[in-house]
């Protein structure tokens, strides 16, 4: 197991390295005259040259990159070009907020999707049609549209929640809960749709397996067989879909945060993108890549725990 994890970690690190290399090359080489963009059209040629020298942009690209990489492995990712803040500080603070949203949405989605998927698979009939309906809706309608709808309905018309803003969990748990309920709801619907659909499919598949009949013939109740044996066998594909959904939620959070004015990664990304704050953008790319690699690793470990055949290989 340890070797499996280490091997996956190594390949994950390789992936992160490749992504950052490509991102660095594209971001720094593709932007044209970066110093000019920072200073604006009115700056003199000397000022621009001075700025470029200050930022180290006048050196060859590969030299800049090896410099950046050398500092990156020590945990030093430079500073924002605009407010001089450390990239590490601004990104990690925002990352925590976004992760709490995305993790919350993933857990909510997993719980609801399992219940809905199993019910749809076992009962069929109207609940099956309902799940199919929700799946189409959740798949088709972009999450931020749902977010806007939720804001309109619950915050503006009903006044049940605050429309915008964020309370850190460290300040007040209930305040945090109130501020993340709508965003999590908006985010999780599409994930619920996708995962419930997968759970339904693989539960139906597993229900037709011979061992289900044999276990029942031994006197085990249907419910017990479904929740212990069928669900465990159906869990692998569902987990895989959940992993894909997690990455999707990470992207969706960028937009949904904007709707609810939550100070997460999304807000930072939009600011950095519009201003061309490339060190921050670089940090964001790196952070998401690391999160994705870690999530995939966690999913792989869970898969191995579910399926003894995976464990061996």
């Amino acid at each position: 197991m340890l070797r499996f994890v280490l091997r996956r970690l190594a390949s994950g690190a390789g992936l992160v390295l490749v992504i950052t290399t490509i991102a660095y090359a594209l971001l720094y080489a593709g932007g044209g005259d970066i110093a000019r963009r920072i200073l604006g059209q009115n700056a003199s040629q000397e000022q621009v040259a001075q700025k470029a020298a200050n930022l180290g942009l006048d050196r060859p690209l590969w030299e800049q990159y090896t410099d950046w990489l050398g500092q990156a492995v020590t945990g030093e990712f430079g500073r924002s070009w605009f407010n001089g803040q450390l990239v590490t500080t601004s990104v990690t603070g925002r990352l925590a907020v976004t992760l709490s949203l995305v993790l919350g949405a993933t857990l909510v989605a997993a719980a609801i999707a399992v219940v809905l998927g199993v019910l749809a698979a076992v009962r069929r009939g109207w609940i099956d049609r309902f799940v199919q309906f929700v799946s189409v809706l959740g798949f088709a309608v972009p999450g931020f549209l749902l977010a806007l709808g939720l804001v309109l309905l619950f915050a503006i018309n009903l006044g049940l929640f605050r429309a915008t803003g964020y309370t850190p969990i460290t300040t007040s748990f209930t305040g945090w809960l109130a501020s993340v309920t709508l965003p999590i709801a908006a985010l999780s619907i599409s994930a619920i749709a996708a995962v419930a659909q997968q759970v339904r499919g693989s539960v139906i598949d597993a229900l037709h397996r011979d061992y289900v009949r044999t276990l029942r013939s031994r006197g085990l109740g249907f419910r017990r067989v479904v929740f212990k044996h069928v669900l465990r066998n159906a869990g692998g594909p569902a987990l895989a879909v959940l992993a894909v959904q997690f990455i999707g939620l990470l992207g969706g959070a960028v937009i949904v945060e904007q709707v609810f004015a939550i100070p997460g990664l999304g807000q930072l990304a939009v600011q950095a993108t519009t201003s061309g704050d490339i060190p921050i953008v670089m940090g964001l790319v790196l952070a998401t890549a690391v999160v994705v690699v870690v999530v995939n690793l966690v999913i792989d470990v869970l898969q191995a725990a579910l399926n003894p055949k995976v464990r061996l290989s």
Binding site: L15, V18, I19, A23, L26, L27, G30, G31, V136, L137, F139, A140, V141, P142, L145, L148, L152, I156, H208, R209, D210, Y211, R213, T214, L215, R216, S217, R218, G219, L220, G221, F222, H229, R232, N233, V244, I247, L250, G251, G252, V254, I255, Q258, V259, A269, A272, T273, T274, D277, I278, V281, L284, V285, T288, A289, V292, L306, N307, P308, K309
Partner: protein, 622 residues
């Protein structure tokens, strides 16, 4: 060379399927509604800027936030621009941008898939690696990063997004190419002198057209969603009206005029829903066609073969109303020598049992047409017939475990004074395991692959007998030992895929007898095993049955097995019992034509094997 001159290259089934697929789509109301809406969107997308009543960017300070009315049909926005005009032009641009993403994804994906499939394996590794690279970042993060250096062009970002979406098409085409290539090498198609390229091009296009259409609908929906998301964030070009930028402006005025958000939101939501519905319906229709041809190819299955019966309603063998007319059954009287051989009271008594399956058209197809069957304590009763004769369905009906759609249509199943026909799950929980054990046919598929052999034995012991964990484990180990497993502890801790088929069947027998049932139902318990193992397993069954004085209902198609093991036998054909009686009487004087043909079958081509089995068993038991 014309199309028609080379019939060998045509794939008729694909052509037929395609035609009927399109026709069926037009008959499906959901598909028609979705396609209708998409057609309207397409018309607006083409004609949008011509039919827009005003300049979409003309701001008028006197007309800020006008409500919908006769002058401005949908009102004006926060800058006094005509919402309707903006919506029409925005449709044009949003759809065009989504189409750009689709086109880029299609070109890269299809071309890449064809090349990779054609040029083989190294391409395969590279592309898998590239795909996982693309999958490692959320699309929007990539687009944001690109935006920070390339600026706010909607076309550029959609072109990049097209690259990110291309793996979807790549995988589809790649799979199709490799499949066709492999077929082609054994095909005679190449002999006709066409190059691989042309063959593949033509085959691939016919195979892949429908899946690509489906994937295109999905990809377009995703492109629209992500593009409007970006624009909603305010990252788009402000001079160009799009659905997303209109949403963005509406959001600024959400408290003053929430209606402003409604129109672009509706446009986005309805378009993506229409695309998804279209894709779903098309996939369902395709799967339905696929499922039909697959079912035809599929061989043995636990599902009963109902098609045959339905295809020949006027088969002279069957009376017109099988439910009403009882068939004559050849009954041989009990042999007095057997009667005092320790046979006890009736355990299981089936009377006029009828089993059927619900059909898609609402009808019911019968598979068992009113049979009588009796199994006594201490008796081994063979139920023999060829596959599809309804013997397995009878066994499942007794256990109350008929597959989906199957149910007992009538008759009685009496077991130890209880009526099981139509009994609920609660009643059955008292019977299954405790009173009736079941040994299935395929050993490997009947063990849950996710749990150890041991835990699958222990669980029923704890649930049905209420044993503590330690007792249950001890008992399971003793059972494994009893059924002849050499290292019980090791097998106990093993997963099903780590043991052999013969071992698995012994495990299943151990499980079936673990809860001390009075009746054992064994469904072809040796069919899936090697000949040598078969004999041992039959031995074991016989020993356990005698040791515990159980009744045993042995479902089989092999008269050799019947001869070895059974006291009495019932012969089943087409859902009916045609002959029943003591084994000796039937072997000596079978009367029904079908029984005779079954007996002849083992004498004709089963003799060497039958003799070997018999010799083995006799040497082993008596």
């Amino acid at each position: 060379m014309s199309e028609a001159s080379n019939p060998a290259l045509e794939t008729p089934s694909a052509v037929v399927a395609k035609v009927s697929l399109f026709r069926r789509l037009l008959r499906n109301p959901t598909a028609v509604a979705a396609l209708g809406f998409l057609a309207v969107v397409a018309v607006v997308a083409v004609a949008g800027s011509f039919i827009a009543p005003r300049d979409p960017n003309l701001a008028s300070l006197q007309d800020i936030l006008r409500p919908p009315g006769s002058e401005y049909l949908l009102g004006t926005d926060g800058s006094g621009r005509d919402v309707l005009s903006r919506l029409l032009v925005a449709t044009q641009i949003s759809i065009a941008a989504a189409m750009l993403a689709l086109a880029v994804a299609l070109v890269i994906g299809v071309a890449g898939g064809l090349l990779a499939g054609y040029y083989g394996r190294w391409f395969d590794t590279v592309s898998t690696w590239l795909t996982s690279l693309i999958m490692a970042l959320p699309g929007i993060v990539v687009l944001l990063a690109a935006r920070s250096v390339l600026g706010p062009s909607v076309w550029l970002s959609m072109a990049i997004f097209g690259v990110l979406l291309s793996p979807a098409f790549f995988r589809l085409v790649y799979a199709a190419v490799t499949a066709v290539r492999n077929e082609l090498y054994v095909d005679a198609a190449r002999v006709s002198g066409l190059g691989d390229g042309r063959i593949i091009g033509r085959h691939i296009l016919s195979v892949v057209r429908a899946p690509i259409t489906i994937q295109s609908a999905i990809v377009t929906g995703i492109a629209i969603a992500i593009q409007s998301g970006l624009e909603f964030l305010g990252l788009g070009d402000l001079s160009v009206p799009t659905w997303g930028s209109m949403l963005n402006e509406g959001f600024d005025n959400i408290y003053r005029e929430p209606l402003l958000m409604l129109w672009p939101a509706l446009a986005i939501a309805l378009t993506t829903i229409a695309l998804t519905l279209f894709a779903n319906v098309m996939r369902d229709e395709m799967e339905r066609t696929g499922a039909k041809s697959r079912r035809r190819r599929k061989g043995r299955d636990h599902r009963p073969d109902t098609s045959r019966r339905r295809d020949h309603p006027d088969n002279p063998d069957h009376t017109a109303r099988p439910e009403q007319a009882r068939h004559p059954v050849v009954e041989h009287p009990d042999d007095p020598r057997d009667a005092d051989g320790g046979l006890g009271e009736d355990l299981l008594r089936i009377e006029d049992l009828r089993v059927g399956y619900h059909q898609a058209d609402g009808g019911v197809a019968g598979v068992v047409h009113g049979i009588d069957l009796r199994v006594r304590r201490g008796e081994v009763h063979g139920l023999i017939g060829e596959s599809g004769s309804g013997k397995t369905q009878t066994a499942f009906a007794v256990l109350g475990l008929l597959p989906d759609g199957g149910r007992v249509l009538g008759g009685a199943i009496r077991f130890g004074g209880a009526e099981l026909a139509g009994a609920g799950e609660r009643d059955y929980l008292r019977v299954r395991g405790r009173k009736i054990g079941y040994i299935p046919q395929e050993p490997m598929s009947n063990l849950d692959p996710a749990f150890t052999v041991g835990s699958q034995l222990v669980e029923p012991l704890r649930v049905t007998l209420g044993l503590g964990k330690k007792d249950a484990v001890e008992r399971a180990l003793a059972l494994l030992d009893r059924v002849g497993i050499p290292e019980p502890r090791r097998t106990f801790a093993a997963y099903p895929h780590e043991i052999s088929g013969g071992m698995a069947q012994r495990v299943l027998i151990a499980g079936a007898v673990s809860t001390d049932p009075e009746l054992l139902i064994a469904d072809e318990p040796t069919t899936a095993l090697d000949v040598t193992v078969q004999a041992e397993v039959l031995d074991l069954l016989r020993d356990l049955q005698e040791e515990r004085n159980m009744g045993l209902l042995l479902v089989t198609h092999n008269f050799g097995v019947v001869a070895d093991l059974c006291d009495r036998v019932s012969v089943m054909q087409d859902g009916r019992i045609v002959e029943t009686g003591p084994v000796r009487a039937i072997f000596r004087a079978a009367e029904h034509q079908y029984t005779r043909s079954l007996l002849e079958a083992i004498l004709d081509d089963g003799e060497p094997r039958g003799a070997l089995v018999r010799a083995d068993v006799k040497g082993g038991v008596r």
